[in-house]
Symmetry: C2
């Protein structure tokens, strides 16, 4: 059977389409008897309103969009849990869009989100994203945006992150305290604000401890895991190889473990390893991994709370605030 629409109901009841439409919206212009006839038939035929038409009328989709670079990363799966907890309380649906670290895909998603698909957006940008015109345009078109984790400094809106500079500094200091002299930093991206800040923390911690900053020890990650594996492998086979590795993102810590296993290097004997990570298996690894663990759930919850506050007050630009939620360094066997 075809979908039942208002036209079909009107024909069946011998009423004008506008009468049926108003009856279904419970308009005061329609008599209770007519309303009863319309609603009874609509129920019988399982009529359901077309959400597009409803959205056009209400200008509300009751959905928020979450744009993230990847999901095979425990930070994002936990952040989404935090976001969904808030959205569920508010009666909103959450649509998740993945950019797979691809700038073009992020632009395409932004244009898909333009003009009414969602009421608001939470974004963590891709590692390739430098120009954010596509997001500014969305925001200019009255769709509120809140950034979390991978933010852009260029846009005038609220951002929620951990204390990236401080975490970069204290992670490096931890490796220094454990006796490392040649510490390598595996960087996520030179475009990303969190990447820049974490690296600045690393550089300053080295300087404050009179350890020279060596360009060759700073490795820029690729989106291709195999390439990362090759580069880390090259680094660990090089003369004067590092005795400490600071992975600024989870997947680089995992790649480092794989490389050490393949090269027969002992962690922490030959090289100490520390990584930003929300990995559920961090304590079960061989050896267990020292992590800087972000409050991912709280970051998601905080970002969603701010977005919904704005939505309830019809504020499109929630203000240029930067909210910081602290991370925790959890020492395990990989740096002992």
């Amino acid at each position: 059977m075809d979908k039942v629409n208002i036209k079909g109901l009107a024909k069946e009841l011998n009423l004008a389409i506008s009468t049926v439409s108003r009856a279904l919206r419970d308009s005061y212009e329609i008599s209770p008897e007519t309303k009863h006839r319309v609603v009874t038939l609509a129920k019988k035929l399982n009529y359901q309103p077309n959400p597009y038409a409803t959205s056009l009328r209400n200008q509300k989709s009751r959905t928020i969009g979450v744009v993230i670079p990847e999901i095979a990363n425990n930070f994002f799966s936990l952040a989404i849990k935090g976001i969904q907890e808030v959205a569920q309380q508010k009666g909103y649906h959450v649509l998740i869009y993945l950019t797979h670290e691809d700038y073009k895909k992020e632009v395409s998603i932004a244009s898909h989100l333009a003009y009414g698909r969602v009421d608001g957006i939470l974004v963590s940008i891709s590692s390739e994203t430098n120009d954010i015109a596509h997001l500014e345009e969305l925001n200019n078109n009255k769709i509120p945006i809140v950034f979390f984790d991978r933010i852009s400094e260029k846009i005038n809106t609220t951002k929620v992150t951990t204390d990236d500079y401080k975490s970069g500094y204290s992670g490096t200091e931890h490796l220094i305290q454990k006796g490392c002299k040649k510490i390598s930093f595996l960087s996520i991206s030179e475009h990303l604000s969190i990447g820049v800040k974490r690296m600045q923390g690393y550089i300053d911690a080295l300087k404050d401890n009179n350890i020279p900053v060596e360009e060759r020890l700073i490795l820029k990650a690729s989106n291709d895991n195999e390439e990362n594996y090759k580069n880390i492998s090259k680094l660990l086979k090089s003369p004067g190889r590092p005795d400490g590795i600071f992975a600024s993102v989870e997947k680089l810590a995992i790649s480092t473990y794989h490389v050490c296993a393949a090269l027969g290097l002992s962690i922490p004997g030959d090289v100490k390893v520390l990584g930003f990570s929300n990995l559920e298996t961090a304590s079960l690894l061989n050896p267990s991994l020292t992590t800087i663990t972000q409050p991912a759930f709280e970051i998601g919850k905080e970002a969603a709370t701010i977005l919904f506050e704005g939505l309830s007050k019809k504020i499109v630009h929630p203000g240029n605030k930067h909210i910081i939620v602290h991370s925790e360094l959890i020492e395990r066997a990989s740096t002992r």
Copy 2:
């Protein structure tokens, strides 16, 4: 500035709204000169069509919905990669909806997806889902559905899974060959077809090897990880505790590792462990985990390919096929 709409363009150009609308759709009814005027102004003012209005007209959203129970599971993140690879080729967006293993949430998502939000749906049902009327209704309303992994046998559509019965059988046989006499099965759900099949494989392998099936060794998982931890802990502290554990889902294998670490039980010395898993760190765990690894990427890709084949041919019911993609048992230290 307000959004530019067709009405605004019409006013500015002193044309009828319908003329502007037809000009933008490149209708033959409109002269080339008028089209040129309309398109030039539309570009200048950065006019973009309202996707709801466009969808109403085209009856196409060029999006597919993917409904999954969780994302903190490498099976689903890999399956989504497979789905997105196909969708990208077809120029479709992928919306991801998470049920968090909650039947009510799944029903709510289904009603949100009804009537035109997406052109087709890929579903992996929640562990609580038994009644699938909400999905049948979507399908009756001409939205094609393809199931993957967590399928329902009750609905007349295409399903893509691994060989769950065979994998349950061969995993159990592997533990028997390694000398286990009391093998515990950690079950995902009694509702889910994949849970039932994996468990039937376990039961048949025990019977074929003349090992009694003991009810006390079959543990039904909860959606609450802490409860699972407690139950596995109770099982491993009980008299006549198992010497082998078969986790039918990734998170239960991880919980088993955590429990063994807490109780000081050696894997594989005291208890051998094997799990269905696409965990990236399986080989890095202490000890490395023997897994039944599903071809998650291929399962996602296959399910999406079938959905798009149906969409291109305008087939709503792609037929009651069951496509099986084989899994692989990878032996590691946890069962040696």
